[in-house]
C-alpha cells in the first residue's frame, strides 16, 4: 500500500479503536493486527501525532504496581473520523469512475 495513504489510514484506524473505548499501547497493536500491520515503533509516532493534534488525550492507571498509559479519544478526534468518512465518500466516487473505465476495456 502507498506509504502516505497507509499513514493516513493508520491514524484513523487508531482513532477508531479508541472510539470503541480507551485503550493502551499493546492492546491497540493487538486490536489493529487483523486490519493493518502495526508495530510498536509505528504506533508511537502515530500516538504522538494524534496527541499533538488534540485528537487524543492520555492518562495513566496503575496496573500490577506499574503505570500504564491509556489513550482517550477527544471530541476533535471523533470529528476527525467523521471528516475522514466524508472524504472517502468522494474518493469512492472517483474509484467507481476509474473502475468503470477499467472494466470497460
Amino acid at each position: 500500500m502507498d506509504a502516505q495513504l497507509k499513514r493516513g489510514l493508520l491514524d484513523i484506524c487508531v482513532l477508531s479503536i479508541l472510539q470503541r473505548g480507551d485503550s493502551y499501547g499493546y492492546q491497540i497493536i493487538k486490536d489493529t493486527a487483523p486490519l493493518l500491520e502495526l508495530t510498536e515503533s509505528t504506533l508511537y509516532p502515530i500516538l504522538r501525532r494524534l496527541e499533538q493534534a488534540n485528537y487524543v488525550s492520555e492518562y495513566a492507571i496503575e496496573h500490577n504496581s506499574r503505570l500504564r498509559k491509556y489513550y482517550h479519544i477527544t471530541a476533535e478526534g471523533v470529528a476527525r473520523i467523521g471528516e475522514f468518512l466524508q472524504e472517502w465518500q468522494d474518493i469512492m466516487r472517483v474509484y467507481q469512475y476509474i473502475k468503470e473505465g477499467y472494466d470497460h476495456e
Binding site: 499501547g25 499493546y26 510498536e40 515503533s41 508511537y44 506499574r66 500504564r68 498509559k69
Partner: protein, 207 residues
C-alpha cells in the same frame, strides 16, 4: 546477543541522547510499557525485547520524526560545545549570521507584504471602478441637466458614458480578479506552511 529489558532501555537512552530529557523519558516509558505488557502476555523477557526492532533502527526512526529546527538546536546542545561557548560563537560571528538572517527575514516579509498588497490593490481596483463609475452615473442622472437637455447636456452625457464604462470594466474584472486573488491566497498559504514546516514537522507531512 540476548538482551534484557534494562539493556534495551539503556541502549535506547544512549541512542536518543540528542532528544530533550522529557521527550526521551516519555519514549523510554512507552517502550518499557510495551515490553512489560508482552511479558505479562506470556512472553519471556528476552523474547519480548527481541520482538521489538533493534535499538539503532528504532532510534533512527524516532529521531527522523523530530522536526528539523528542534533537532538542530539539540545537536548544537549535545555536540559537546558548551552553552557558554555557543553564546560566544554567536556573538563573534554576529556580523556574519545576523545580516544573513536579516536578509532572509526581509525577503520573506517582503514577499508576504507584496502578495497582500497585490490582493488589496486588486480589490481596490474593482471597487474603485465599480463605485466610482456608479457614483458618476448616478451623479449625472440626478444633476437634472441630462433630462432638461440644457447647457451641460453634452458633458453630462459624457459623464454617463464614463460611468457606464467604469462600471462595465469593474463587472468584467470581477471574475479574473477573484481568480487571481484565490491564486495569490493559495500561494500565500503554501509559503506560510513551508516556513512553518521548518519548525514543525507535522503539518508538512500531512499535506
Amino acid at each position: 546477543m540476548i538482551m534484557n529489558k534494562q539493556m534495551f532501555l539503556d541502549g535506547l537512552r544512549v541512542a536518543l541522547a540528542e532528544l530533550p530529557v522529557a521527550e526521551r523519558e516519555k519514549t523510554l516509558a512507552y517502550y518499557e510499557e510495551m515490553i512489560n505488557d508482552r511479558i505479562e502476555d506470556g512472553m519471556s523477557e528476552a523474547d519480548a525485547v527481541a520482538s521489538l526492532e533493534p535499538v539503532e533502527v528504532l532510534a533512527a526512526r524516532i529521531l527522523d520524526e523530530t522536526p528539523m529546527m528542534q533537532k538542530a538546536v539539540r545537536k548544537a546542545k549535545n555536540s559537546g560545545i558548551s552553552t557558554a561557548l555557543l553564546v560566544v560563537l554567536l556573538i563573534v560571528f554576529f556580523p556574519v549570521w545576523f545580516p544573513l538572517a536579516a536578509v532572509v527575514f526581509g525577503i520573506i516579509v517582503t514577499v508576504l507584504a507584496l502578495m497582500f498588497a497585490l490582493i488589496v490593490a486588486l480589490i481596490a481596483l474593482v471597487l474603485g471602478l465599480g463605485v466610482g463609475g456608479l457614483a458618476v452615473l448616478i451623479g449625472a442622472l440626478f444633476s437634472g441637466s441630462f433630462f432638461s437637455g440644457g447647457l451641460f447636456g453634452g458633458s453630462v452625457l459624457l459623464a454617463v458614458g464614463a460611468g457606464l464604462v467604469g462600471t462595465g470594466i469593474a463587472v468584467l474584472l470581477i471574475y479574473p480578479v477573484w481568480y487571481l486573488i484565490k491564486l495569490i491566497w493559495s500561494g500565500l498559504k503554501k509559503l506560510c506552511r513551508k516556513i512553518r514546516s521548518w519548525f514543525k514537522k507535522e503539518e508538512a507531512n500531512n499535506e
